[in-house]
């Protein structure tokens, strides 16, 4: 990843390395982007507090590790147990958090002007950031690396076990979500709610519960993203949700907001752009690329890559 290795690498292997790194962070962006896009798809609301939910997910996973006293890589049953505990606490906690945000912050405002909901989202974000800061402090917290530090090398390109874990986790979750949305009763109800909530009510579909479940589901995906983010960067900070949330939002817009496959593609494309930018231009400018992409999109192609009528594909 670093400069020292890239000096020694052939251009081809350097490219491979940047692609692998970009693909990894892109997979995390995609997981978070799904939450923005699902909520927008169902009720045309951009949940700007979603980045903070992701950050809380990272801290909940950290909490599980602190409770269990994990400080180093694990294997076998211990690894499986710790992973389960992290996922359970992060996904369960964020699922409830997402549910609660919808119930308390957005549902009472469903008929209010858009700006009201936006201001509320900012309020929720500040609340979550400050709550985490008070509980865990304002400085970076180390996130124990409990995945074994296996790595494979090929002509200077290296790939870690953690990267593979991130790819597989994201891949499996995205396929599962796509199946849920296209083939299950809940998924059909989500898409129908996006298209005509009152017609849904006449059929007995509990629209409010479907909307709350959409928030909970998107928040669960963000929580997994948070855990993977902590593992990948080895530290977490209470304002990580802001920047990463904005990047994931960019990914969602890039793919066409409201469009689930679009969020996946958008996340990966943004991650790879960022990886290439960091590798070939300057890693200090890494965070700027996402916003160049966002501004460019909003100006030239606001419907995103896969988008025309995306708002109701959920």
């Amino acid at each position: 990843m670093g400069l020292t290795s890239s000096i020694l690498m052939s251009p081809f292997h350097l490219l491979l390395q940047q692609l692998a790194n970009g693909f990894t962070i892109g997979a995390i962006y995609a997981l978070i982007a799904l939450g923005y896009t699902m909520v927008y798809g169902v009720i045309q609301l951009i949940n700007f507090a979603h980045g903070e939910v992701f950050m809380v997910g990272a801290y909940l996973a950290l909490t599980a590790l602190l409770i269990l006293g994990v400080a180093q890589p694990l294997t076998g049953v211990a690894l499986a147990g710790v992973l389960t505990a992290c996922v359970a606490l992060a996904v369960g906690g964020c699922g409830m958090l997402g549910w609660g945000i919808e119930r308390l912050a957005y549902r009472p405002l469903r008929r209010a002007p858009r700006l009201t909901a936006l201001i509320t989202a900012i309020g929720v974000s500040f609340f979550l950031q400050n709550a985490v800061m008070l509980l865990y402090g304002a400085t970076d917290r180390r996130f124990p690396a409990f995945i074994p530090a296996r790595r494979w090398e090929w002509g200077g390109t290296s790939l870690t076990l953690l990267q593979v874990v991130i790819w597989l986790t994201s891949g499996v979750l995205m396929v599962a979500l796509q199946m849920l949305v296209t083939s299950t009763k809940l998924g059909k109800a989500m898409r129908a709610t996006a298209q005509d909530p009152n017609a849904c009510r006449l059929l007995g579909i509990p629209v409010d519960r479907i909307i709350a479940l959409t928030f909970a589901l998107g928040s669960g995906f963000a929580a997994v993203g948070g855990m993977l983010f902590g593992l990948y960067y080895n530290t977490v900070n209470f304002h990580d949700g802001y920047l990463t949330g904005l990047k994931a939002f960019t990914a969602a817009v890039l793919g066409g907001i409201g469009n689930i496959p679009g969020a996946m593609v958008g996340g990966l494309v943004l991650g790879i752009l960022e990886g290439l930018g960091a590798g070939y231009l300057s890693s200090q400018w890494k965070n700027v690329f996402a916003f160049v992409v966002l501004v460019g999109l909003l100006v030239f192609k606001p419907t995103g890559l896969l988008g025309e009528r995306v708002a109701d594909r959920a």
């Binding site: 017609a199 009510r201 006449l202």
Partner: protein
């Protein structure tokens, strides 16, 4: 089965129902007729819970249902095929029908009713994988009715099911209403086509400016000079 007592309701501050009283007995077809803007659709929406009452009461099988959320009223066996079809345009025909059975757990019963809906509207079977938004207006009307039937309602509210259909399709729709009724469903029918509605119904109500102006058996209404002049074209 259904009873509305002095129902006053509307949108915002203006009441467009001003004390509607009517009843529907189990096994009946009752039609609600009236000019544009008389409040027919609003009456049905009040029954389904999408429009709130400001006064009055609605009871289903003796129990108050006004104030319940629409999904709970649907859960008590009230089906509503709304004005303007309101199918889910970017879901397939089959998905629309499946969502009609959202509240039901009996897989076998749902499969049976799906077969029945396809028998009533064979065209829907051929197009079951097509997006509902790509159906013609008449086909969408059939889908909306089929979707309403998939919930196996005890009471079916139909809001202008023949609106905008070619005469042949109008016949199909009224035949289906007859068959639904024979299968044991009670029907409250709002129609522009007063002649056909009175031919199929047992009783009828005439709604004028948000209040019931006339209530009688269907044959008596069809013979009533006032009704003839206003709704049956003389």
């Amino acid at each position: 089965m259904l009873r509305l007592d002095n129902v006053t309701a509307g949108y915002g501050t203006t009441a467009c129902l001003k004390g509607v009283t009517l009843f529907v007995q189990a096994g009946e077809i009752v039609t609600l007729l009236g000019a544009n803007g008389a409040g027919k659709s609003t009456t049905l929406l009040a029954i389904s819970g999408l429009v709130r009452l400001s006064r009055g009461a609605i009871a289903l099988n003796g129990a108050r249902i006004d104030g319940l959320p629409p999904e709970a009223i649907a859960g008590r066996g009230v089906g509503h095929v709304p004005e303007g079809r309101r199918v889910f345009p970017r879901l397939t025909v089959l998905e629309n029908l499946q969502l009609g059975a959202y509240l039901r757990g009996d897989q076998a019963g749902v499969a049976h009713d799906l077969a029945w809906v396809f028998e009533l509207f064979p065209l829907l079977r051929d197009r079951r994988r097509q997006l509902a938004g790509t159906l013609s207006g008449g086909e969408q009307q059939m889908l909306a009715m089929g979707r309403g039937l998939m919930g196996r309602p005890a009471l079916l509210l139909l809001d202008e099911p023949s609106l905008g259909l070619a005469p042949k399709l109008v016949q199909v729709v009224f035949d289906v209403i007859r068959r639904i009724h024979q299968a044991g469903t009670t029907v409250l029918l709002v129609e522009q086509n007063a002649r056909l509605a009175l031919a199929i119904a047992h009783r009828g109500y005439i709604l004028e400016a948000g209040a019931i102006a006339l209530a009688d058996t269907a044959p008596a209404l069809a013979d009533n000079p006032r009704v003839k002049a206003a709704y049956l074209g003389g």
